[in-house]
């Protein structure tokens, strides 16, 4: 009985992974998920930090009013509408004649993530004591020099936990690209099931692969946090 059960499990597993080189499909899906998430995280960080800096400089100096209004509209619209609709608008309307689904997915999630990163980074900037900017300026450093040497490093350190939270959410959220037929990791189990009529192992394998990516991100977060927290522990140097 046990032998029969074991044999059946091994057979299901074999069909899910080995037959027709299906393991390649998981890797391809994983690769696409990572590409989309990575490019989206880059775009999102650039947009988010930019708008957060606009907000911060506007607050400190009263400049950049127009950019600040644009930032507010952008954040309101992006956070106020479902990402799946944003994806469909970009895929079926804006980039309708562009057949690179992967890039359209990456751009969608980048623009979407940017709005959340903007809020995270804004909180990071606001958590830096006002006196830090004043001290820099009182020594004759420009706003930008003070931002670069003093404010941004402290803001990054302060918003690292929510930022990595956002990246982790982003990796999993990209599974939505399946809606417009992009072959990411989330789409693969369905594809394999349509051949084998067995969902169990394809779903488990995809889940484990997502988990590995997220664990990698968590590890990266810990390393960065340790590196940046040396100013809390006192001694400088290595």
């Amino acid at each position: 009985m046990n032998i029969l059960l074991a044999a059946s499990i091994i057979d299901r597993l074999r069909k899910a992974v080995i037959v027709d080189d299906r393991w390649k499909l998981y890797l391809e899906g994983l690769g696409n998920t990572i590409i989309i998430a990575l490019i989206a995280a880059l775009i999102g960080t650039v947009i988010g930090v930019f708008f957060a800096m606009v907000n911060y400089i506007n607050k400190k100096t009263g400049k950049l009013k127009v950019l600040k209004v644009i930032a507010n509209i952008y954040i309101t619209i992006i956070r106020g509408t479902p990402v799946v609709l944003q994806l469909m608008i970009l895929y079926f309307i804006v980039f309708v004649s562009w057949d690179n689904g992967l890039m359209i997915g990456a751009i969608t999630f980048g623009i979407n993530s940017g709005a959340y990163v903007a809020e995270i980074a804004r909180a990071g900037f606001e958590s830096v004591d006002d006196g830090q900017m004043e001290a820099g300026r009182s020594l004759g450093l420009s706003t930008w020099q003070t931002m670069y040497h003093i404010i941004i490093p402290q803001a990054v350190k302060n918003c690292l936990p929510p930022l990595f939270n956002e990246f982790i959410t982003l990796v999993k959220e990209t599974a939505i690209v399946g809606y417009v037929g992009i072959m990411d990791l989330g789409k693969i189990p369905g594809l394999i099931q349509s051949r084998t009529f067995d969902y169990l192992f394809p779903l488990l394998i995809a889940a484990v692969l997502y988990l590995i990516v997220v664990l990698g991100l968590t590890q990266l977060h810990h390393i960065l946090e340790k590196k940046l927290s040396k100013s809390d522990r006192g001694r400088g140097g290595k």
Partner: protein
């Protein structure tokens, strides 16, 4: 003392919305003077000090420093701030930099270009700044703290480092905004002693403080501010021993 003033304040005004914090202040600060500004909280003394280097933008009047009206928004204020050191109540050491980096940051960032033009290499100039910063730390007996971060220091140590950080730029004037108000009582002395030492070397100073004993000892002139105006001014002897304005009398009675 009657040569040209370092800072000339003409009709300075500052309002936040409809609230007038500074109302038509005029005074001149001459080289070597130690001007101490006293007054009740809300009298505008900190705002006055912060207007001198335009950390608060004046809403009216002029501040002439180095022959330039720095209250003019078109002026590049950074260049002038390099010549005006400021020390804050909350120390404001850079949290993400070591003590040594705190002192070196502004000189290295601002003057490297100039040094390179004069034929030094970047590394040579940085080393020069480092040596100067170490000399400043030795002066206050904190050279062993060069490589620690501010979070491990006492308030008195932080404030002394903040003072030498400002001195590292070789300013012509030093502005002190209640430099001992955030300190534990046992640390007030070490900070005041350093300020006195810098004062005795001839530095021009404007000091906002609640330490009346210190004001009496170090000031060459005391300004008493009330409701955004200079209500009375004079030597410490005149102002503390023989105040004329009823508001000054009332204030001194309350604090002494």
């Amino acid at each position: 003392m009657m040569n040209k003033p370092i800072i000339e304040v003409k009709g300075l005004q500052k309002s936040f919305g409809s609230l007038n914090v500074l109302d038509d202040i005029s005074t001149s600060i001459y080289p070597g003077e130690k001007v101490v500004v006293i007054g009740a909280s809300g009298s505008g003394k900190s705002t006055f000090l912060r207007c001198l280097n335009c950390l608060e933008d004046p809403t009216g009047g002029q501040i002439i420093f180095d022959d330039v009206d720095i209250a003019d928004p078109k002026v590049d204020i950074n260049i002038h701030r390099q010549n005006m050191g400021m020390v804050f109540q909350q120390f404001n050491l850079f949290n993400n930099k070591t003590v040594l980096e705190n002192i070196m940051l502004a000189p290295v960032t601002i003057y490297t270009k100039k040094a390179v033009k004069e034929g030094k290499t970047k590394a040579e100039f940085k080393e020069e700044c480092r040596e100067k910063a170490m000399a400043l730390l030795r002066r206050i007996g904190l050279e062993d703290k060069a490589n620690v971060y501010p979070s491990t220091l006492s308030g008195g140590q932080k404030q002394r480092i903040a003072i030498v950080r400002a001195l590292a730029m070789n300013p012509k004037v030093m502005l002190f905004d209640e430099p001992t108000s955030a300190l534990d009582p046992e640390m007030v002395g070490e900070v005041l002693n350093l300020i006195k030492e810098v004062a005795s070397e001839g530095m021009t100073m404007v000091i906002v403080t609640h330490e009346m004993g210190f004001a009496r000892e170090v000031a060459t002139r005391v300004l008493f501010m009330d409701e955004g105006r200079i209500a009375e001014e004079g030597t410490p002897k005149e102002l503390f021993d023989n105040p004329q304005n009823p508001r000054t009398i009332q204030f001194l009675k309350a604090v002494l």
